[in-house]
Structures are given as structure tokens and as C-alpha cells.
Amino acid sequence: MTHSLHRRGTRESLSGDFVVLGCPATGVNKKGSASKTRKFLSICYKHGPINLGDMKTGNIYNTTMDDILSRVTDGTIVECTFDNREKIVALLKELNEDRPGISVIISGIPDIVQQCMTEAGMGRIHSLEYSLGTWGNTERLPDFEILQTVTMCGHGMIASDLVRKMVRDVKRGRRTIEDCCIEMAECCSCGNYNVTRGKQLFKELLPLYTLHSLY
């Protein structure tokens, strides 16, 4: 499962984009992990994520934190999305000092993540995964500007047609950017959609399309 890996964007855009995952390990610490996962979630919540969720329950935009916490079971993988590095440093400091015990993974630009780890008093990144991009019939992909938005949901639940329709709706004055981004966050049930980054990307999309070129 690599749903936080293939986020597309420029360094500037991705430098404020961090997905923090808490993952128990089958056969090692999964049994009895529910309390550890709840502790991990509670610590993350304290540090002000822009999104937080569990793919089988939903995220804070379509349910409540209490619901997410109450539905955590042994083996639940949870995700918290942050929009700035200072929060990550503070979060890592606390997770390093008061370890929940499950594995913690952060998707982001590796040199920034490493800086955050160092500032939090931690060592080197343990293991790492890179994307080599998209291969095959790439003519079937939407424009890069739309890809930046839709790849924030690794399960592919934000349709490129929905982004186009929302841009059209905003241009027509039917909806606000904020309203559209919240709905996209609702579509991405895991909580990986970064609403702060989403709003910025949406603003950048608006001048690129005319009403007639859209959905």
C-alpha cells in the first residue's frame, strides 16, 4: 500500500505536505495494538493536523475524532496529514520520547523530513521508498496541474472530472474554493488530502482553464 507515495508537485508545493502514518505489524505487534494506535492518534491530533483519518472509518471531514478513535481495532492503520514542518518537529519530539510502539512513517521530501528528525533529536531515516513515476500509456493521464490534486488521494477517489467540475463551479460563482476542497477531503476517506495545499493548488488551477474547456 503506497497511497501516500505518488503525490505529484513541485518542491515548493510539497515542502508543506506531510502524511504521517501509524502502522502496527502483523505477526509482531499487531495483537493488542488498538490502544497504541489510539495513543498515536491522540498525540498527532494534539499537534494540529489538517486532516486525520482511518480508511475504513473516514476522516475528520466526514466523521468525528471520537468516532475515529472508537473504531480503531488491532491492525487499524491511521493517517494524519500536516501542512508545516514545525508541527512535524514537535510531533516527532513527542513520539520519540513517548513511543506508542507501532511503526511511524512520514511521507514528504526526504531531506526536510530528515531535518525534522534531527531537530527532534532522532537519527537517520530507517527505510525509504521512492517513486519512479508513471509509466505506460501516460497520454491517458490528466494534465499535471490536475494530477497534483488527484494524487493526494492515493486510492484514486478524487476524480479528475470532479476537479474540473469544481473549477467550473467556482468560476461561475456557485461554490467557494474552501467548500470544494472540503468536499475533496471527504472523498479521500483515509485523510491523506492536504486541505491547505489543496486550496493553493485550486487557486493555481483557476487561471489555467476557461469555462468551455472544462467538464
Binding site: N29, S127, L132, G133, D161
Partner: protein
């Protein structure tokens, strides 16, 4: 996913929510004069459930019937709310590098290679998945498939990468082939993937996992540079906070 023709009013509100694009057509109701409804192309639909979860239908015409085998694999791999029981992990893949700090799945000198067909937003048939899996296994590069991965479960022959014939016509938003090989075989694995990419009408993303040594360069980066490969500026990074910690040979001294 289907639309109840007795309820649907063809308002089109569900259209933009479909990750597979415009897969709906109009039909005329044979018993209600003047009523137009939509039909969802059942071959193109992956049963991901997004249109239903969006709660956008004003007449609650959308419904997801319980699908028999083999069609049920569409929902299993495409709907993030459904867990594949074989992997015991929510989602389409495995724990892969996420738990490497406690499981030691990828040791120094080993690399994980994942190929996710259909991503992003195009979708893939299992016949495409089989094409890639068989190309990887035929090359005999020591690529070991992840046993708990859903795609591995759907293989009738794990030594050749052959999938069960009854799932080949099924489609998912994405399906991941996961496995690992020795670092020195990575260039050959990548070459196989480059070659097979030219034969497909869909897309796939490629990901590579490595244990990061306590000092020195990340082992896979020189391989990428030597091959002239683009690799992402962002990555997925295991913090090493899981307990109990797996002891790796490069950490012993």
C-alpha cells in the same frame, strides 16, 4: 455499481464523481413514458463505491449489489473501505516498508519493487497485471513476490506470475504487484518494466524500497542516477520508532 432505472432521473450529478471518467450512458425507460435513466458501463466500473459515498444522488438510485466471484475482486481492490482478508491489511497492498523497522522485510542489499497498475486514475484489467507479473517472473531475476499481497493471492502459478483465468477480465482502480530482489538485480528489473510498459494501454507507477544505512548514500540512488531515471523529490520514510526493533546487520556495530 448500478443505478435503479425505476428511481434514476438522469440528472447527471453522479457523473463527475466517477474516478474512471464518463462511463454512463442514457436509456429510455420502457414502462414510464418520457423517463430517461442512466446505465453504468459494468465493464468499465470498478465498484469503488465513490459515487455512492458522495451521497450526491437526489433520488437514492445508486446501489451496490453484492457481487459474486470473480466480479467481487473489483470492489475488494478498488473500494478503500473494504479490507482484503488475505493480506490482513486495509488497502490494496501489504505493510511493505511501513513496518520494516520491526519486521526486517527489506534487509541491507535487498530492494522492494512495487508496480501499481492503473494508478493514477486510469484503472487496469487483471490481464494487464498478468502481463507485467509474467514479464517479471519470466526474466528469472530472483524477484520474490510478497505472499500476502492480493495480486499474489490471485495467481494460479506464483512461479510464472500467471493469474487465475477467471479474474483476467476484471478491472480495478489499481492493483499492485509487490516483491523484492537483490539490489544488484534492480537495473534488470527496471529494464523489464520499461520494456513491458510499451505494450500496455494503461499506466503503472513504480516504487522502490530500501533500508537506509546508518551512514553513507541511500543505496538505490546511485542506481537511479546511473540509469538516468527520474525519481520523486518526495518519498515515504520509516522513522524507526516501532517496537520491538528488528536488528539489522548494518546496525550491529
Amino acid at each position: 455499481m448500478k443505478a435503479d432505472k425505476d428511481k434514476c432521473i438522469a440528472c447527471k450529478r453522479c457523473f463527475p464523481y466517477c474516478p474512471m471518467g464518463r462511463i454512463q450512458t442514457y436509456a429510455r425507460h420502457d414502462q414510464i413514458p418520457g423517463r430517461i435513466y442512466i446505465e453504468i458501463d459494468q465493464d468499465a466500473c470498478t465498484d469503488c463505491g465513490m459515487c455512492l459515498r458522495a451521497k450526491i444522488c437526489p433520488v437514492t438510485a445508486l446501489f451496490q449489489p453484492e457481487e459474486p466471484w470473480p466480479r467481487e475482486v473489483r470492489g475488494v481492490l478498488s473500494n478503500p473501505m473494504i479490507e482484503f482478508m488475505g493480506s490482513q491489511t486495509p488497502g490494496r497492498g501489504t505493510e511493505e516498508m511501513k513496518t520494516n523497522d520491526v519486521k526486517g522485510t527489506f534487509l541491507p542489499g535487498e530492494v522492494g519493487v512495487g508496480v501499481e497498475l492503473g494508478r493514477p486514475g486510469v484503472g487496469a484489467y487483471f490481464r494487464d497485471v498478468e502481463t507485467v507479473a509474467m514479464a517479471l517472473m519470466k526474466a528469472d531475476l530472483g524477484y520474490q513476490l510478497a505472499a500476502e499481497n492480493p495480486v499474489t493471492h490471485f495467481m494460479s502459478d506464483k512461479t510464472t506470475g500467471k493469474l487465475r483465468d477467471d479474474v483476467l477480465g476484471e478491472k480495478a482502480i489499481s492493483a499492485i504487484i509487490e516483491g523484492k530482489c537483490k539490489l544488484e538485480r534492480l537495473p534488470e528489473v527496471i529494464k523489464i518494466l520499461k520494456d513491458v510498459a510499451k505494450t500496455l494501454d494503461t499506466v503503472f507507477t513504480v516504487e522502490v524500497i530500501t533500508k537506509v544505512p546508518p551512514v553513507g548514500e541511500v543505496p538505490i540512488v546511485p542506481v537511479f542516477k546511473e540509469m538516468g531515471l527520474w525519481y520523486s523529490i518526495n518519498s515515504k520514510n520509516n522513522m524507526g520508532l516501532g517496537e520491538p526493533h528488528f536488528t539489522f546487520t548494518d546496525e550491529e556495530q
